[in-house]
């Protein structure tokens, strides 16, 4: 009799746990599909505000018009620009470095590539979540991209897009004589598991101003 009671209690508890788990899962799914855009926007705003409070300006980062190079460089993990792509509603901070830690807060700049205005390859990367570069695959040839750096503003026009293998380093040619902006994110979006491909955008520079 006592054993039977114990078994019933255990069964009850197990049922309660399963039902609770079920409801938690439903809640997670609802949050994801209904509120994720709002949550991501909120997180981005909080990140931008908290970064602004730390230090957003780097007076030492100036552009040398003679050598066409930066006089100093943004510190690792620090914001030095914003990336603006109006056609897909992207307006995100750009940080020096492209580690996972850095890209939690916005767009990462591959430190081996050159900086906007230096006349070479610029590589930017961002996560494919909503609120980051989720809509990058919807970008069209001819769309405008603006980088507002602390030392100037640079405008680019999308020339082409490609889906590449993640290990295809040749898809990122190193130019020193022409400025090409390359932006990528994991592809496809909205699939489960490790992504083996990247959606890559190539854009040429069409405008610049250094009057900051």
């Amino acid at each position: 009799m006592h054993k039977k009671n114990k078994r019933n209690i255990l069964k009850e508890i197990t049922e309660q746990i399963v039902i609770s788990f079920f409801f938690v899962s439903i809640i997670i799914l609802i949050i994801h599909f209904v509120f994720i855009d709002k949550i991501n926007n909120y997180i981005n705003i909080v990140n931008m505000i908290s970064i602004e409070e730390k230090d957003i300006t780097y007076p030492e980062v100036k552009f040398d018009n003679v050598s066409k190079r930066l006089k100093d460089y943004p510190l690792w993990g620090k914001e030095f620009a914003t990336l603006d792509i109006p056609s897909i509603n992207v307006n995100l901070p750009v940080f020096q470095g492209d580690t996972l830690d850095i890209m939690r807060y916005g767009i990462g700049h591959y430190s081996g590539s050159l900086f906007p205005g230096e006349g070479g390859t610029i590589i930017l990367a961002g996560h494919n979540d909503r609120g980051f570069l989720y809509h990058l695959p919807e970008i069209k040839v001819g769309d405008k991209i603006t980088i507002n750096a602390v030392y100037g503003t640079f405008t680019y026009e999308v020339e082409s897009t490609r889906v590449i293998d993640a290990k295809d380093n040749d898809a990122f040619p190193f130019y020193k004589d022409k400025e090409v902006l390359m932006i990528y994110t994991c592809y496809p979006v909205n699939t489960i598991g490790h992504k083996t491909h990247r959606f890559l955008v190539y854009a040429k520079k069409v405008g610049e101003s250094y009057e900051k």
Partner: protein, 174 residues
């Protein structure tokens, strides 16, 4: 007079040797970009890695003494790589990986170039304060992992389906 000549001769020889050994920033850069040869094939840093080196040398002045020391240590690293016929850090034997890590630590402690290397091949170069990261260089691919895995969502979906089935079964039995 003969002794003075002899002393001068030795001094000139000594200075000559020093001049031959002393290395400038640009020579050090050339040495780095030339890399080394394994199985008749040159192993060189990528254009992007060279760009990192250039950026560092644009920002910081490295003395000839430091350049010379680094060049010597690079020769040691190249010899270890050749011995293992390694074309990248990851291809080194564990023992030689540890030796290279120690060599980088030695460069960091004895010169103005502050750096560290981990056993998985992440070379961190620091600003002059020795703490703030200047850059991180790896042999990994240019494209990083920028995807969302959605594992949590997949799990949540599975549990939801399982939960619906469980409750439906209970209702049916009742």
């Amino acid at each position: 007079m003969k002794k003075v000549f002899a002393a001068l001769f030795v001094l000139v020889l000594f200075l000559g040797v020093v001049n031959v050994k002393a290395m400038t920033e640009s020579e050090l850069k050339t040495k780095m970009t030339n890399g080394y040869v394994v199985d008749g094939k040159a192993v060189k840093p990528s254009d992007y890695q060279v760009s990192e080196i250039e950026r560092y040398l644009n920002k910081y002045e490295v003395s000839e003494a430091d350049c010379t020391f680094i060049a010597e240590k690079m020769d040691e690293i190249y010899e270890l790589a050749k011995a293992d016929r390694a074309k990248s850090f990851t291809e080194l034997s564990s023992a030689n990986k540890s030796k290279v890590v120690s060599i980088v630590a030695e460069i960091s402690s004895k010169t103005s170039v502050k750096a560290s290397l981990t056993n998985d091949g992440v070379l961190t170069i620091f600003e002059s304060d020795g703490k703030t990261v200047f850059t991180k260089i790896t042999d990994k691919d240019i494209a990083k992992q920028t995807g969302v895995n959605y594992y949590v969502l997949a799990f949540a979906g599975f549990v939801s389906v399982f939960g619906v089935a469980y409750i439906a079964k209970k209702a049916f039995n009742a």
